[in-house]
Amino acid sequence: METLAQQLVNGLIAGSSYALVALGLTIIYGIMAVPNFALGALIALGALVTAVWTEWLGHVFYLTSLIPVIVIGTFIGVLTDRLAFRPIRFAPHAAGFVSALGIYLILEGGWNILFGPQWRRIESPYSAMVINVGSITFTAQHLAMFVISGGLAAGTYLFIMNTPTGKQIRAVSENADAAALLGISLNKMSLLVFGLGSALAGVAGVLMAPMAAVGASMGLFPIVKAFIIVVLGGMGSIRGAIAGGFILGLVEALGAGYISSMYKDVFSFGVFVLVLMLTSGGLFKR
């Protein structure tokens, strides 16, 4: 039973960062129907900026890099929407998908040139602090990640559900034409969700940075997992993305603990294909 409790905690911690990326992905999908693969490159950006930031400023606390990451991430998100996605908004579905892949390649290639192809490590003062609760062990690093991603996910949820702007976003994702008739600017909402979604992915990158090898292509697996979550939760569903993130974290932790850690990713991809085949719109309807 001790290991079960430990694995549940591991799953929840991993799930919190998954949920953050999935949230960014789902709000963009909800409005623009673009499966924005490029967010994978923004995860890498978050981690890389953190690496450079801590190198430049000496022994500055790594979480301060959240500020530049949010600013740069939002800017890139807005830019990609304006330059690549707005011109093809009314093109067939495939176009958005291919453009998103293109932007992912541009950004990943760009990071390789800007930051160099080497893999880096980031020091965090929290990594060495071990917390014991009963028989369960985790580091302060995990706790920080859980609290910050949980807080941001909750904040985004409240923003979308309770503010007038959030209502406009939901209106557009419900029915873009009707929303436009009521005077909601599609362009503005789209810029907003691209900025917000990209910033969230960047923040997820910062939080993952001390626990992963940091490099330009580090975002590929997380973004594929975010896709899995968004499909699990129903494309465009906000509650589904948060719940799906935790479910995938738990599935992976239990699969790695009880079956085989080598095939951990096969496990989550397999669940994904299974869910795709059995349901056509995800576990949670919007």
């Binding site: 998908f97 892949l101 293109g102 390649l105 294909v273 795709l276």
Partner: protein, 323 residues
């Protein structure tokens, strides 16, 4: 007049084939023959993917998986079981076809963007399995895949160990693949594929068996990809699990889209822009993904029909001249 069109088509295909035949004679540099051989294998893969993307309208990021399965099947049969190249090639096509069938049966019930995401997951699963199933696949690298043994004809010997001869071998299979794709596209099957691409519901309403034809397209495209994979494995001599992953799938899709689907000119232009041009311009490896991405986005925004598709739209005379 149809006869006039046929005559010009004859000259165009004839010219293209002559050009392809003369390449290694005109360009004697071994390095460029190598580049062209790989480029030809890319053309083969693009043509096979086009059956799915261009004709049936299915976006797949997992085409690399079937290239990889074909390459590994052909390589493993030769290295571990000592079977010679030609039977291995046939077996590799059959194995890949069976795997594609087993994957396609459940997957092709998934529609729209979900299908593309599903193929991404399948490619990832296959790459992980190949990398971890060490006893069979050799783990990180499968070494020592031989080239086809040479043919001793009465007067002379065809030695596939020579780069130039291998180039011609690949060329034959490229011509075969393009012929198969075009032949299918102009048949009853091809018309069903196009009907599905244009409007799934309408196709279904007129009696096209959606799932059956999608499966047919998927299995044929995968079998053709296995030919490319086998040729690649034998040419390179060593293969890695990454060739079955989604990076490869991205590259094939990018080539198909950039060149322009459903045209031979598109296959050639797409493959060469993505593969040879960066090399020709002396681009360092590190700048390449950036260039591919930029090309993809520019093509999507300014010419969604691809470079050749856009050229064809300019003028019917040009359209007639491009195969």
């Amino acid at each position: 007049m149809p006869s006039k069109g046929r005559v010009s088509k004859f000259w165009i295909y004839g010219g293209l084939i002559t050009l392809a035949l003369l390449f290694p004679i005109l360009i004697t540099s071994g390095y460029w023959i190598h580049m062209l051989t790989i480029g030809m294998i890319y053309i083969l893969l693009v043509a096979s993917l086009d059956l799915l993307y261009g004709y049936t309208g299915l976006i797949t990021l997992g085409h690399g998986a079937f290239f990889g399965i074909g390459a590994y099947a052909c390589g493993i049969l030769q290295v571990k079981l000592g079977i010679s190249f030609w039977p291995s090639l046939l077996a590799s096509i059959a194995i890949t076809g069976v795997v594609a069938f087993l994957i396609g049966v459940p997957m092709l019930r998934i529609r729209g963007p979900y299908f593309a995401l599903g193929t991404l997951a399948v490619a990832a699963i296959i790459q992980i399995i190949i990398a971890n199933w060490e006893s069979v696949t050799g783990g990180y690298t499968l070494y020592g895949i031989p080239k086809p043994s040479s043919w001793n004809l009465r007067a002379f010997t065809i030695d596939f160990g020579s780069k130039m001869v291998y180039y011609y071998l690949v060329l034959v299979f490229v011509a075969f693949t393009v012929f198969v794709v075009k032949r299918i596209a102009n048949s009853r099957w091809g018309r069903a594929f196009i009907a599905i691409r244009e409007n799934e519901e309408l196709a279904q309403a007129t009696g096209v068996n959606l799932w059956g034809y999608k499966l047919l397209s998927f299995v044929i495209a995968s079998c053709l990809a296995a030919i490319g994979g086998s040729l690649y494995a034998s040419y390179m001599g060593a293969i890695e699990p990454a060739i079955s992953g989604f990076n490869m799938g991205f590259t094939f899709l990018a080539m198909t889209i950039i060149g322009g689907p459903t045209t031979l000119g598109g296959y050639v232009v797409g493959s060469f822009i993505v593969w040879v041009l960066p090399e020709f311009l002396g681009f360092a490896e590190i700048y390449r993904p950036l260039l591919y991405g930029l090309l993809l986005v520019l093509v999507m925004v300014f010419m969604p029909q691809g470079i050749i598709g856009r050229l064809k739209m300019l003028n019917p005379a040009i359209a007639r001249c491009i195969p």
